[in-house]
């Protein structure tokens, strides 16, 4: 038995008894939130219910445990409509994430695969408003979006060349809510990625054409100063559910009623 098989066997057992170390979720209060996507399509704030958010994105090691437990999600398993050719393409094999690191965020995951993973944690993908709410915080403030210095700092990530796979999870300090790596490590799937577009009535042919033409690139945006968040919105709006990306990972959300087992 090679060490890799041993690790696989260990992960398998860990998967059977509930993923070894359970993922940590923290309760976020939600409430009224000024989003870049107005809730009424024009100017209204979003109303967000309290939700439990995974403190860290899902790692390669955690995803390996998942595909060991649910073989149909191993690379080569899902039909094309659920995961395309880029699914886990950088992994050396269906059960080997090398050369990627165990504690790096898993990427090249389709939306369907991410949903299935979250389901295995009795969770779902965050909705855009939930993600944006959590990502508005810096280390000290629940909403740091009025601070140009902070906006510039989170924007800095996007100017770095993307020639290396994302590095380890948890290197940066947690934000106000105890959540890590919302900025600076990966892009993240949201459950309603195919709902991020201008709120036009579909009667309007011109707007509809825009929608068909650039997959929601025409957004009715409330706050245009937060470029880092707008870039994410544009990227997610252009995705298909069976695609992944070298920098596109995910984390999960539990509803308050699902979270009985979660750590406060």
């Amino acid at each position: 038995m090679t060490w890799r098989q041993a690790v696989a066997a260990l992960c398998c057992c860990a998967g059977l008894v509930g993923n070894g170390q359970a993922a940590e979720y923290k309760l976020l209060p939600g409430g009224e939130f000024r989003s870049v996507l107005p809730a009424d399509g024009e100017s209204a704030a979003a109303r967000i219910r309290p939700f439990w958010l995974r403190t860290q994105p899902v790692s390669n090691a955690e995803y390996l445990a998942f595909v060991l437990a649910q073989r149909q999600w191993q690379r080569g398993g899902p039909p094309q409509v659920l995961a395309g050719a880029d699914y886990l393409a950088l992994w050396a094999g269906p059960l080997a994430f090398a050369p990627l690191q165990a504690n790096a965020p898993v990427t090249q995951i389709s939306w369907h695969a991410a949903q299935a993973y979250c389901h295995s944690e009795q969770a779902r993908l965050p909705r855009w408003y939930e993600w944006e709410f959590a990502a508005a915080a810096d280390e000290q403030r629940a909403d740091a979006r009025q601070d140009p210095l902070w906006l510039a700092r989170i924007l800095g990530w996007y100017s770095r060349p993307a020639n290396q796979p994302p590095q380890a999870i948890g290197l940066e300090p947690a934000n106000y809510y105890g959540i890590q790596d919302l900025h600076g490590l990966t892009w993240e799937w949201v459950e309603d990625f195919n709902g991020l577009f201008v709120s036009s009535d579909s009667r309007t042919q011109d707007e509809q054409k825009q929608l068909e033409f650039c997959g929601g690139a025409a957004l009715s945006l409330g706050d245009k100063s937060n470029y880092a968040v707008l870039i994410r919105l544009a990227l997610l709006a252009a995705m298909q559910a069976n695609q992944g990306g070298n920098y596109l990972g995910f984390r999960c959300v539990r509803e308050p009623e699902q979270a009985s087992g979660a750590t406060p």
Partner: protein, 206 residues
């Protein structure tokens, strides 16, 4: 009598196993898409790789993959919408009327974007209100938001619920062949027959 009993037992087994194939466990109603063994026989690019558990206006529970075997026009709609949806329904009705298909040769599946609101009763009301031919058109709704969004994603339909409850969405009709591969689509929104789609339909039914 003995023969009959064995036969019915075999039939029950077949029904049971096919039910298991189509609905992977009870979880199918709540679980996100799970690739299943049923997808082994369908082409790699078939949309039927995605299981979606639905209930129709008659209250019949089914998986949309049961529509395989003949061409299918499929789209998603918002029942309460006073504008785009009547136009979409009218367009599909007129397209089918002009096509004059042999009975049973094609179905039209319209799935609600509003699982919190739509029920078999509300879908039945819609069928009645728009005088829709229930032999060709099947109106249905998925169990939850997750399955609705997964189906919309596969059909390249974008939608968002606004805070007043209205759903804004694009309109896209897909024509699938018997195996569930998309062979044509239309985003045209006019209350007349869709001529381009009609041409594709005629080709598909040849």
């Amino acid at each position: 009598m003995k023969g009959f009993k064995r036969c019915s037992l075999a039939l029950r087994q077949v029904l049971l196993s096919s039910a298991l194939l189509l609905v992977p466990g009870v979880a199918a109603w709540a679980a996100p898409a799970a690739p299943s063994t049923a997808s082994a026989s369908i082409p790699a690019d078939s949309l039927y790789g995605l299981p979606v558990a639905l209930v129709d206006a008659q209250g019949v529970k089914f998986d949309w993959r049961e529509m395989a075997g003949k061409p299918l026009l499929v789209t998603m709609f918002y029942g309460d919408c006073a504008s785009a949806c009547p136009v979409l329904i009218e367009s599909l009705k007129r397209t089918i009327a002009e096509l004059q298909p042999v009975p049973g040769s094609i179905r039209v599946l319209m799935v609600s974007l509003n699982p919190q609101h739509d029920t078999p009763a509300s879908l039945g009301h819609l069928l009645h209100m728009h005088k829709i031919d229930g032999d060709i058109f099947r109106l249905a709704v998925a169990a939850d938001e997750g399955q609705t969004r997964a189906m919309a994603a596969a059909l390249q339909i974008k939608y968002r619920q606004l805070d007043n409850g209205e759903i804004t969405h694009n309109t896209r009709v897909s024509l699938l062949n018997a195996d569930g591969q998309e062979i044509a689509s239309s985003t045209l929104l006019k209350s007349t027959a869709d001529q381009a789609l009609l041409a594709e339909l005629r080709k598909a039914l040849q």
